[in-house]
Symmetry: C2
Subunit: 355 residues, 2 copies
């Protein structure tokens, strides 16, 4: 379904039609010139040899400083996606499962299927403002569950769960002898920034793609106990070898500038979120996002039909079905400038399925 | 054992000791300046977005042209290592196995273990000049075998198997309804260059690391049937997303210059191989390599002890135990200039374990 839709988008673009693409998890801002320059100059210096499967020491030290851990707790990965996939592959035996809350990033389920397990989901409700359902979490855990994944803030809702809620999830995990994987891809885009989570007995996956706009660079990292880091390094050695040193040089420069870059990215996101809430709010129920660049309004008609309709009007969005049992929600990525976004959001509000 | 040895190398280097490192599979030549410039300029042009999990079209077309196939038969990967790992992960069910010939690259076995299977090996003999043992191959295949891996030319022996021998392996595979994976990492370094294998019902994994010296870039590709390519693209989507576009720009430029670069690399390898044969041949049985930068002489004493002894003399090599049941062979990587290499090889010939 999703693939058919994206094929349609490609076909329309090939016909020369202008599409406002609000369907991707890719911010429209770019890495800073200093980041690009750091990579180019590392390449010029010959930083392109086989390298550590854990990461370059300078980058690991910087990450450790930010997270209040040691370099031995850090492994640099090809995007946070690889950090998550590898964590799943290394914690799962055939037939086991993990639990996460839906709506959720569809890759988790595909990763589990590929690794020979399954992903179970606890459905959060729009009418409860997607509040964590801890009771249902406990009921969903079974004797084959090994991991709880918490994406906070969440893709697609942009809802953030509090430190207290995170602790409640950790308590349930401890009680059931499970591990927790925090997917922090959007954490630096929280409108009310938080300190890094103190280091503990869980996995934290982080990305350079969103805050720094370094999507195609494929850089991320995992924070974990040192024994698990060793396992992941061994896994990297037989799969990827290393993240290119010149990519890591860019990532290091991004972290050096993190405060400035993250502040600007948050400001951009917040302005767009306010605009989206103002315009979409005229017709739909749109809670104000806590972070990032997605809104996930309920549109009270079939989301796939609505997506098709919008595409005819030159706007691509993602129907809620992609994220679980949300057939009347749509995910809009606020990844265009305010002017283009305003026009697109107005069209979304005006669009009406003919019955 | 190997890791202890490499830790020792790091420790010695940290103490300021100069080590001639002939223990790595990393050539000492560099990508051409045009390759580096292609990557830098792609980055400057903003070629750093989320991109196709199959590869950039221009690169796939160039690869298809070289191999006489279609772009739909190509998937660009993070080194040939990922091409091999992903092929294993996608062809193996729990408890199944593959067969390869030893001595062999140790990563194959680790990959199979990680994927829940096993690697069986057919031991080739020094006294037969490591000729393929097809009879033993047939005996080793069992009802759980799914794949035959043929690394040709071979790491660590640098022995090339003829087209006829490859066909015999394919015939055995067909008879037993198995697939064959050709690991072609060193093929472009054949001293007598061959045409690309015609496209067929098998997998071919290729690397940019060796011929082009692009080790840390992590670029390679797989040639396969289009349905399998689709499976691998889906696997890439949930693990790596894409090879960075600016890395692929460098890889494309490397292929544009392939004839020149490969000719130079072969010449360098052949000169070094002749030198090695001449010097080592005074004491050891060293068949002339057919390709690449390894020699694998039998030294008639324990290879681990010999490696320790050489390390004291400032030379790192890899003991034969790393590649299978070869306790009296050593792999020497001819990855230093002729002068440094000559000195190191003389020392290797002179070294004697005190009994």
């Amino acid at each position: 379904m999703l693939y058919q839709l994206s094929e349609k988008i490609f076909a329309l673009e090939a016909q020369g039609k202008k599409i406002t693409k609000l369907n991707l998890g890719e911010p429209d801002w770019r890495p800073s010139e200093k980041v690009a320059e750091a990579a180019r100059s590392a390449l010029a210096l010959g930083k392109d040899r086989y390298a550590s499967a854990q990461g370059e020491l300078a980058l690991m030290e910087k990450i450790a400083e930010i997270h209040g851990c040691k370099p031995e707790n850090v492994v640099v990965t090809l995007g946070s996606k690889w950090a998550i996939y590898a964590t799943i592959a290394l914690t799962l035996k055939q037939g086991e499962n993990a639990v996460t809350f839906s709506p959720n990033w569809p890759a988790y389920a595909s990763m589990y299927r590929q690794a020979g397990g399954t992903l179970k989901t606890v459905e959060l409700k729009q009418e409860n403002n997607f509040t964590l359902d801890l009771e249902q979490l406990e009921k969903t855990i079974d004797e084959k569950t090994r991991l709880i994944i918490l994406n906070n803030p969440s893709n697609p809702t942009s809802r953030a769960f509090s430190d207290k809620e995170e602790q409640a999830v950790l308590d349930i995990a401890n009680k059931n002898r499970l591990r927790v994987l925090f997917d922090d891809a959007y954490r630096d885009l929280l409108f009310k920034p938080r300190k890094e989570r103190p280091i503990g007995e869980y996995f934290t996956a982080c990305s350079f793609s969103k805050t720094f706009g370094m999507t195609g660079w494929r850089a991320g990292y995992l924070i974990a106990g040192k024994d698990f880091v060793k396992k992941m390094v061994a896994f990297n050695q037989i799969t990827l070898t290393n993240v290119p040193q010149f990519v890591q040089a860019g990532a290091l420069e991004a972290l050096e500038e993190k405060d400035t870059i993250a502040r600007q990215a948050r400001k951009t996101c917040e302005e767009r979120a306010e605009l989206a809430q103002r315009i979409l709010g005229r017709k739909f129920n749109v809670p104000m996002p806590d972070a990032g660049f997605y809104v996930f309004p309920k549109i009270n008609s079939d989301a796939i039909e609505f997506a098709k309709l919008l595409l005819k009007k030159g706007i691509a969005i993602t129907p809620g079905q992609a994220f679980g049992n949300y057939p009347e929600n749509i995910r809009i990525s606020l990844t265009a400038n305010l002017e283009e976004l305003k026009m697109a959001l107005e069209k979304i509000v005006e669009a009406k399925i003919q019955k």
